[in-house]
């Protein structure tokens, strides 16, 4: 019960007092009167195994790249540096050293991406929505082509499929709109 009482109420965010718990799995916040169910996982009460590095004792021992006095016990799967248990980070399903983890954060790897712009949706929106106010297509069709070209090699959504098909559809629609404008303006200019 001790670990549970330190939890915040999901509604009012104030710490749940022991009086708020009916049993281990449910309760009512005595401040905001919100009923809740709670299910705990091992992480609530368990700690992590303590990581301790062994000192290099003989000259033949390989030492950690970052700690000259610690014995190396694993290899970074990205750069191959020998690292001690303190420097071994389990990140993205691989054992990595702190430098490679830092590099991953700036590389745009999928494991750390925070947001993405959907150029296919932008291009498609720019060719479909202005149809209802068609004079705008004179402006939006070339912009849509620009988005298709700019977004062609950009990474797309992490959860949707490939953007290429939608980009191609947007490009076709935009080119049709540009062609229609070209024909229309040419006919207008050649009218006697």
């Amino acid at each position: 019960m001790t670990a549970r009482t330190a939890l915040p109420c999901p509604k009012c965010s104030r710490t749940l007092e022991p009086v708020s718990w009916r049993d281990d799995a449910a309760g009512t916040c005595w401040r905001c009167k919100a009923d809740f169910e709670f299910e705990a996982f091992p992480a609530l009460t368990a700690g992590r195994a303590r990581v301790a590095a062994a000192a290099a004792v003989v000259e033949a021992d390989s030492v950690c790249f970052f700690h000259a006095t610690n014995r190396a016990e694993s290899v970074c799967e990205d750069c191959g540096r020998l690292v001690c248990p303190v420097c071994t980070i389990d990140f993205g399903g691989k054992k990595r050293c702190p430098t490679c983890v830092a590099a991953t954060k700036t590389s745009g790897a999928e494991a750390v991406v925070k947001d993405r712009v959907l150029y296919d949706s932008l291009a498609l929106g720019l060719v479909v929505i202005p149809i209802f106010i068609w004079p705008f297509t004179l402006l939006t069709a070339p912009v849509a082509i620009g988005f298709v070209i700019y977004g062609w090699k950009k990474p797309n959504s992490l959860v949707r499929g490939s953007a290429r098909a939608r980009l191609i559809v947007a490009a076709i629609f935009a080119l049709l709109q540009i062609a229609a404008w070209t024909v229309g303006l040419t006919m207008l200019a050649n009218r006697p």
Partner: protein
């Protein structure tokens, strides 16, 4: 060119908010909440091994939706009846009446409204795409074995030390 294997599995469909749609996805070792405006996507991840527990609270979502659909069905019903009484042929009102009734039934079948919060060491994160109790329980049933597997190696906290042996004092 070989296709990349799908990294994420969808757990919930898009739930609409104010200009934002949210959905929940399952990655190899984490949950990912996707907030999408249609033109941009924002990702929040929660590692399965960091989840300490989850709160499930009920809310009035079903009641509010029922009230909305009832208003639609009620107004359409009145217009429909008035048109019939006046011996006119109603066209729009039966459509809206049917829409309202279907909405009411559908809303009832979805079950009570609920909100799920995932508790980690640093935050209590709401999962906005889980809005109904039945849906939340279904998703949690899928997640429980995965979370348990991800936390299988966690070390149990040491129990409080037992009281020491009584000190015997000699004569």
């Amino acid at each position: 060119m070989a296709r990349q294997p799908k990294l994420y599995t969808r757990l919930t469909r898009n739930a609409s908010g104010l200009g934002v749609m949210t959905s929940l996805w399952l990655g190899p070792d984490h949950l990912m909440i996707v907030r999408s405006t249609g033109y941009t996507e924002n990702y929040s991840r929660v590692m399965l091994r960091d989840i300490k527990g989850h709160f499930l609270t009920r809310n009035d979502r079903r009641t509010w939706f029922a009230a909305t659909w009832a208003v639609v069905a009620g107004i359409a019903g009145i217009v429909f009846v008035v048109a019939l009484v006046n011996r006119e042929t109603p066209i729009g009102s039966p459509i809206f009446l049917a829409l309202g009734v279907v909405g009411l039934v559908w809303n009832h079948l979805l079950g009570p409204g609920a909100k799920l919060f995932v508790v980690t060491g640093v935050q209590t994160l709401p999962v906005p795409s889980l809005v109904r109790l039945k849906q939340a329980r279904r998703v949690l049933a899928k997640l429980h074995p995965l979370i348990a597997a991800a936390q299988a190696d966690l070390v149990a906290a040491p129990p409080a030390p037992p009281p020491g042996p009584p000190v015997l004092s000699g004569p």
